[in-house]
């Protein structure tokens, strides 16, 4: 039985986090109405000219540096000519001949082994408008709000061999770009778009097979399904003696299959030539040096540092640094309360739980480290017990509230007064003769029950240590 290998390369388009578009001053914010963020330039009106946004260049350079690329120190913009309603000038300003960065790499960790995925090139280009297909009628609607938004396209080498590797690559890429502030990389919102180039070949073969391009996946899961689906489709064809047609296919996640797209761009001659309206960029060593020094600490470095400085485990450090927001929250809270292990524990257990339940992206964490730190202090000081602290933590984590106010408002203060405890415990002992005698007869499990009942009657606010000690004492 022939064994087949899947070969995958990715083209990832990422929207850059700038305030204005790449060649005009229109806002890149989501438009409440169609065609509202538009001007003569991004609408391609006659006689208008582009004006390059420096921030877009800086962000592209940061991405290139973080991906270990060679910066192409004289780079240019080229016109990619084709007709489509979402393209106002009937050409897209992109970079072909001299893209801003080349020959980089991204290391992924797949099942314990490190693998380097090559990055062929990275370039800046402008986005096109959005098309909305009105299925009921014979028209398509066009919104140019997105036209001119800056993108970078990151083209990998065909070094990936499985859906797992692809997802690893994308996850790592996303974290790096988010750490840099280059993009918020949200697939569902379209700020990160992935096109898959996939081919198959017999294991051991070195020549690449004919590849297809798959578009239209808007989640990591869909990407994994698309890879499995397309790989199987191609292998089936080859097994049956057929040939793969080089084409672009659209992934239909509902039907779990790819469909051949109408030839919009098949065998298109884009007639690229340097755009005479945009002057070339000369990226000096100093420019690169300044950017490099402005690079924020990336995730790998943070993981190492957290392990060393805060004595976190590799695993914990990894989870806590999965976003810059979470890492910063951890660090600033730890510095405030000086209890890094506590902070880490709360984030790893309760934090992760709340994020999962409420569908929160680690990048959307937004709370004051002061509030978090105060909560931890309150536990230390015996103001609340750990059980009640969970409720408070939820309030602090999800609503960024002041823990002190919350505790006062809901009366969650821990009960540790000796007299009060004794009174309550006495009552519990009186009310639970059975379990009391069970305990006295050696059934240690009954002790737990009695503790539980004690806590219940105090609405959970008892000091667990004291309750345990006093109960034990009073049962003797």
């Amino acid at each position: 039985m022939k064994k087949y290998e899947t070969v995958i390369g990715l083209e990832v388009h990422v929207e850059l986090s700038t305030y204005s578009k790449v060649f005009c001053g229109c806002s890149t914010r989501f438009g409440k109405r169609p065609n509202i963020n538009s001007c003569p330039v991004c609408m391609g009106m006659p006689g208008t000219l582009p004006s390059l946004n420096k921030k877009a260049v800086d962000l592209a350079l940061l991405a290139g540096l973080a991906l270990n690329c060679d910066i192409v120190q004289t780079c240019m913009f080229d016109r990619k000519n084709y007709f489509y309603p979402d393209l106002p000038k009937a050409y897209q300003i992109s970079q072909l001949y001299l893209p801003i960065a080349r020959n980089g790499s991204l290391s992924i960790d797949n099942k314990g082994t490190k693998k380097l995925i090559g990055i062929h090139e990275l370039h800046i280009e402008e986005d096109a408008g959005k098309l909305i297909h009105d299925s009921d009628s014979n028209i398509t609607l066009v919104d140019y709000n997105r036209s001119g938004v800056p993108l970078i396209e990151i083209v990998s080498r065909p070094d990936m061999r499985s859906a797992e590797e692809v997802l690893e690559y994308l996850d790592k890429l996303r974290i790096i770009l988010r750490y840099l502030g280059v993009s918020d990389c949200k697939m569902q919102e379209g700020s990160m778009r992935v096109d898959i180039n996939l081919s198959v070949r017999e294991s051991g073969e070195t020549m690449l097979g004919t590849r297809t391009e798959i578009k239209n996946m808007n989640s990591f899961k869909a990407i994994a399904r698309a890879i499995e689906g397309e790989s199987k489709r191609q292998i089936d064809i080859l097994k049956a003696g057929g040939q793969i047609v080089q084409e672009t296919r659209r992934w239909d996640d509902n039907r779990n299959e790819s469909i051949r797209m109408r030839s919009k761009e098949e065998a298109q001659d884009y007639r690229y030539f340097p755009d005479p309206d945009i002057l070339p960029l000369e990226i000096s060593d100093r420019w690169i040096h300044n950017l490099r020094s402005s690079l924020p600490e990336l995730r790998e470095e943070k993981i190492l540092r957290f392990k060393n400085e805060y004595d976190l485990s590799e695993y914990d450090a990894g989870v806590i640094t999965s976003s810059r927001e979470m890492a910063d929250l951890f660090e600033r809270t730890a510095i405030l309360c000086n209890k890094p292990k506590e902070v880490a524990n709360w984030l790893m257990v309760e934090g992760m739980r709340l994020m999962k339940e409420n569908n929160i992206d680690p990048w959307d964490i937004d709370l004051h480290p002061e509030h978090f730190s105060k909560l931890i202090s309150m536990i230390e000081e015996g103001i609340i017990n750990r059980v009640k602290a969970k409720d408070v933590f939820e309030y602090v984590f999800l609503q960024d509230g002041d823990p002190e106010e919350y505790v006062k408002k809901h009366g969650l203060e821990m009960i540790s007064d000796d007299k009060v405890l004794r009174t309550i415990i006495k009552q519990v002992i009186n009310d639970n003769a059975g379990p009391v005698s069970d305990y006295r007869n050696g059934k240690t499990k009954a002790f737990g029950y009695l503790v539980g009942q004690t806590m219940k009657s105090m609405k959970g606010k008892g000091d667990p240590t004291l309750v345990n000690a006093i109960l034990k004492e009073m049962l003797e």
Partner: protein, 95 residues
Amino acid sequence: MKINNDIFNNILNMVKLSCTEEEKKQLIKDLNKLVGFIDTMSELNTDNVEPMTYIHSTRNVYREDIVNDSKEDHDIHANALEIKDGYYVVPRILE
């Protein structure tokens, strides 16, 4: 290389034009005349000469990342041919 019917049709499609048979005949004729003239460029030796696109040596022309909020008193969509609910309208595109 001479522009024949196939090459002509390919170009016509790339530029999204159409023409009558009469125009086509004349265009092919005129195109080939011009291409023949342009082909004489090969007589001039340009080895070791860099191509020139930009007149001046100015480089790195860009602007700050600031949104242009000025509410200009014009309607840039006034020349629109067909608008529905604020969208531009084109014939249905099948993917």
